[in-house]
């Protein structure tokens, strides 16, 4: 019957898994039988038989796990169901020993953990896709439904697998493009065991078809994010959301990569983040270091800064029109600054020193005119408050004007004058 399941899914399970199922044929048949009706106590096997079955099943599981992991989780949900069924079947006849065996098998728990940490969205999604894909709560309920006779211990064992899939689920309200939610509720897991396998096979079939359908079809316009599930990936809303989130983060990581120098060689999120963190820390340390330097240097020079700045602030709004008209002339910087030197007082000259080396071009034609109209300092200081908010263009022109007087080769002259 498990083989039937495989056939139904149109998947092509790797021969390993099929082989595993075929080899211990007796156990598989017993498995089938137990699946059909685990509640039949009259067929409860003896302890010996049961433990033997357990061991073979565990071996099966081991191999299944390994092969599943190796083949990329393609059959993960099948295996998970099997394990669930194994767990169920074991639960009924003899409550204590098989459970302890299950829970006590460190390999199994470890493998379950491996499944949960398998990490790929597709796997997580696929483990959930075998169950109805509506909500968190519904999936959990359905899982528990299929394990009618499960005991708390078994629940504890199964639960690491269930929340493993749920970890990736998000509570985003993503609408899905496909209307797969409508057919799925009709296939909600039947409480009886006999139907679960078939139901799941049917579900799987339907989901495969839906997955294929998902690659076609237009996107309805809505307010929400529209994510199309790629073929062969999860169609669960939560795993979709997870994937969207991961893509977003990846996109931003690329952005950051461009900003942070030396990140090209580094690959992987963790190392990249380390690089970014180091870079931010180094920048902050630089700021601190420079502020220390500034504090030691600042005493006398800073006064002139203020005044010069203020003067420019005052000038700019009045001459903004002229500034905009004049346009930017970077080449004539040197000439005009030489011309203006004679007119400039220490205020401006010191301000030249202060301002950074020119990056922007300057409206030089207006410079001369503006600086000949220098009002007194007191007026400037009063007017500072008026000009707290500058538009971008004003600011550019302000600094640009200062920059005009500070080409690199002239800064030396300025300093000498002071």
């Amino acid at each position: 019957m498990d083989n039937e399941l495989f056939m139904n899914t149109q998947l092509h399970p790797p021969p390993e898994i099929a082989a595993h199922f075929e080899q211990p044929s007796s156990s598989s048949t017993m498995l089938n039988w137990s699946l059909m009706d685990p509640n039949l106590t009259q067929h409860s096997p003896t302890q010996d038989y049961f433990s033997w079955r357990k061991s073979t099943e565990l071996q099966q599981k081991q191999s299944i796990f390994d092969s599943a992991l190796s083949c990329g989780g393609g059959d993960g949900f099948i295996i998970r169901e099997l394990i669930g069924k194994l767990g169920n079947s074991s639960a009924t006849p003899n409550r204590t020993t098989p459970l302890t065996e299950f829970s006590g098998d460190p390999g199994f728990a470890e493998r379950a953990a491996r499944f949960s940490c398998f990490g790929s969205r597709s796997f997580n999604g696929r483990t959930n896709s075998s169950l109805p894909v509506n909500n968190n709560g519904k999936i959990v309920n359905s899982v528990k439904l299929t394990r009618v006779s499960s005991t708390p211990a078994l629940n504890g064992l199964v639960s690491p697998m269930v929340p493993a899939g749920e970890i990736s689920r998000k509570r985003k309200h993503l609408t899905k493009v496909k209307s797969k939610e409508t057919p799925l509720p009709t296939v909600s897991p039947a409480p009886s065991f006999s139907k679960t396998a078939e139901g799941k096979g049917g579900k799987r079939r339907r989901q495969d078809e839906e997955k294929e359908d998902n690659t076609k079809g237009p996107e309805p316009p809505k307010d929400y994010i529209h994510v199309r599930a790629r073929r062969g990936q999860a169609t669960d809303s939560h795993s979709l959301a997870e994937r969207v989130r991961r893509e977003k983060i990846g996109e931003r990581m690329k952005l950051l990569e461009d900003l942070v120098p030396g990140c090209n060689k580094v690959t992987g999120k963790a190392l990249m983040l380390d690089e970014i963190i180091n870079y931010v820390q180094s920048l902050q340390r630089q700021v601190e270091f420079l502020s220390m330097k500034l504090s030691s240097v600042n005493d006398t020079r800073l006064d002139f800064n203020v005044d010069a700045l203020v003067s420019k602030d005052v000038m700019i709004p009045s001459s903004s029109n002229r500034l905009h008209e004049a346009g930017l002339q970077a080449e004539s910087l040197s000439h005009h600054s030489y011309n203006n030197n004679s007119q400039l007082h220490t205020n401006v000259s010191s301000s030249n020193m202060m301002l950074p080396s020119p990056v922007n071009s300057v409206e030089t034609s207006t410079l001369a005119s503006s600086f000949t109209h220098l009002p007194t300092l007191t007026q400037f200081t009063d007017s500072i408050s008026q000009y707290q908010i500058f538009s971008q263009e004003d600011l550019q022109s302000i600094v640009g004007m200062g920059v005009a007087h500070n080409p690199n080769h002239e800064s030396q002259n300025m300093k000498i004058e002071l």
Binding site: L256, K269, L273, D299, L395
Partner: protein, 157 residues
């Protein structure tokens, strides 16, 4: 709810904007009487540093950026000033909803460190944190350039 794929905006104003703000703040500092006392260099350094950050935050976009807002709020709190920011309802609701979203044990350890570094990082989702980090890095580097030029200009060798 995030709309799909708005282009991420990490534009940063030009260097002159930063310069202006920084110089203004320095001048304000200058006017304080306690500033010029030769002792207490540490205080001065701290003040300059704070002025640098605050001016950077203002230059970079004021209250439009999460990190700058957090920075300004922090600075205002230290001065026991009350800062009023324009109310942004969208952000508040997003905060409540998003807190459940950003859990991912693999990334969160590193994101935690980043959160500690970037001002205001604690309240952000990881993808938003990345955006803010990018902008923050740009602004920081700009500020560093400005300060470097200042220092070079002021203290010739």
């Amino acid at each position: 709810m995030a709309s799909a794929d708005k282009p991420i905006n990490t534009d940063v104003p030009e260097k002159d904007v930063f310069t202006l703000h920084f110089l203004q703040s320095l001048s304000n500092l200058r006017r304080q009487n306690t500033f010029n006392s030769p002792e207490k260099t540490n205080d001065r350094v701290k003040k300059i540093k704070k002025a640098a950050y605050v001016s950077m935050a203002r230059a970079a976009g004021g209250t439009n950026r999460l990190w700058s807002r957090a920075l300004l709020r922090r600075a205002a709190k230290e001065n026991s000033k009350v800062v009023r920011f324009p109310r942004r309802k969208k952000r508040v609701t997003c905060l409540r909803r998003r807190r459940s979203n950003r859990r991912d044990p693999v990334e969160e350890e590193e994101a935690e460190r980043l959160r500690n570094l970037v001002p205001g990082g604690g309240g952000m989702e990881t993808s938003k944190l990345m955006e803010e980090t990018a902008h923050y890095i740009k602004c920081l580097s700009m500020q560093v350039k400005v300060m470097q030029c200042l220092v070079d200009g002021l203290a010739p060798k």
